[in-house]
């Protein structure tokens, strides 16, 4: 019997053969999302670093005024979503690689998801509040 990832003679691309692998069938999706968010992070972090380098000062009025600008608020929202998702995926891989106790691993994986969801939502709400009221 051919295994799922072996060439079965049909005209399947390597990607379509790999789709659905992993114990929960989500390994390729995880891998692909990590790459997708890495490219997004690359562009967004270059923007954020340039913005931080050009910030005239770090007083409340300057920073809140900067974040209240629609273009900055939108790019910051995209940054938070992409970066937090990328971080959750990366921490998941680290936990899967180094934690060998199954119960502890499940506990840690759940904790990682909840942690980045909670902090990410906090950031999204904060940006929106400044953008709409600042």
């Amino acid at each position: 019997m051919k295994l799922k990832w072996e060439d079965d003679g049909t005209f399947k691309s390597p990607l379509s053969r790999a789709r659905g692998l992993g114990s929960a069938g989500g390994a390729v999706t995880h891998w692909w999302h990590q790459r997708l968010t890495s490219v997004a992070n690359l562009l967004l972090m270059l923007w954020l670093v340039c913005a931080a380098a050009q910030m005239p000062g770090w007083s409340y009025d300057v920073v809140a005024g900067w974040l209240a600008q629609p273009i900055n608020a939108v790019l910051m929202l995209l940054s938070v979503i992409s970066v937090f998702y990328h971080a959750a995926l990366g921490c998941q891989v680290i936990a899967e690689d180094y934690i060998h106790h199954e119960g502890l691993k499940i506990f840690k994986l759940g904790g990682i998801r909840l942690f980045f969801l909670a902090t990410g939502v906090t950031c999204v709400f904060s940006i929106l509040k400044i953008a709409f009221t600042g």
Partner: protein
């Protein structure tokens, strides 16, 4: 050839041979940069707490933001921010190296090394340029 197993005491089974692990390998640029990519990614994930604090403080008002600023401007805060900036630029540059590998480039050992040195160079340049231009 003498069997070492025969010289062992009969009591207890002979421990099974273990496959070579990290400690038998000489650290190389490629392996050290690989684990550093993970370490910096993990450190940056923890750094997101600082970003969350900053944004929440901004949304909460000037008083909360002042508390954040006093920590960020302290010795510990500046040291943490410098470390995170170094980690960010390393992870960003080495991430590009990883993406190039994913696209099938840089697999020749000398190219992997060359790209590694370029990553280290750019990490230093970007970190230095950032702290030179940012107003603290």
């Amino acid at each position: 050839m003498s069997e070492p197993a025969q010289t062992q005491k009969a009591a207890g089974p002979k421990p099974r041979p273990l496959s070579p692990h990290l400690q038998v390998y000489k650290p190389q640029l490629t392996s050290v940069m690989s684990i550093t990519h993970r370490a910096t990614g993990y450190a940056l994930s923890i750094g997101l707490v600082m970003l969350t604090w900053m944004l929440l403080a901004l949304a909460s008002g000037p008083a909360a933001y002042e508390t954040f600023l006093s920590f960020a401007g302290s010795g510990v805060g500046q040291l943490l921010l410098f470390g995170w900036s170094l980690a960010l630029f390393y992870h960003l540059c080495n991430g590009v190296r990883h993406l190039l590998w994913d696209m099938g480039y840089l697999f020749k050992i000398e190219k992997a090394y060359k790209a590694g040195y370029i990553v280290l160079l750019f990490t230093v340049i970007l970190t230095a340029y950032f702290w030179w231009s940012v107003s603290v």
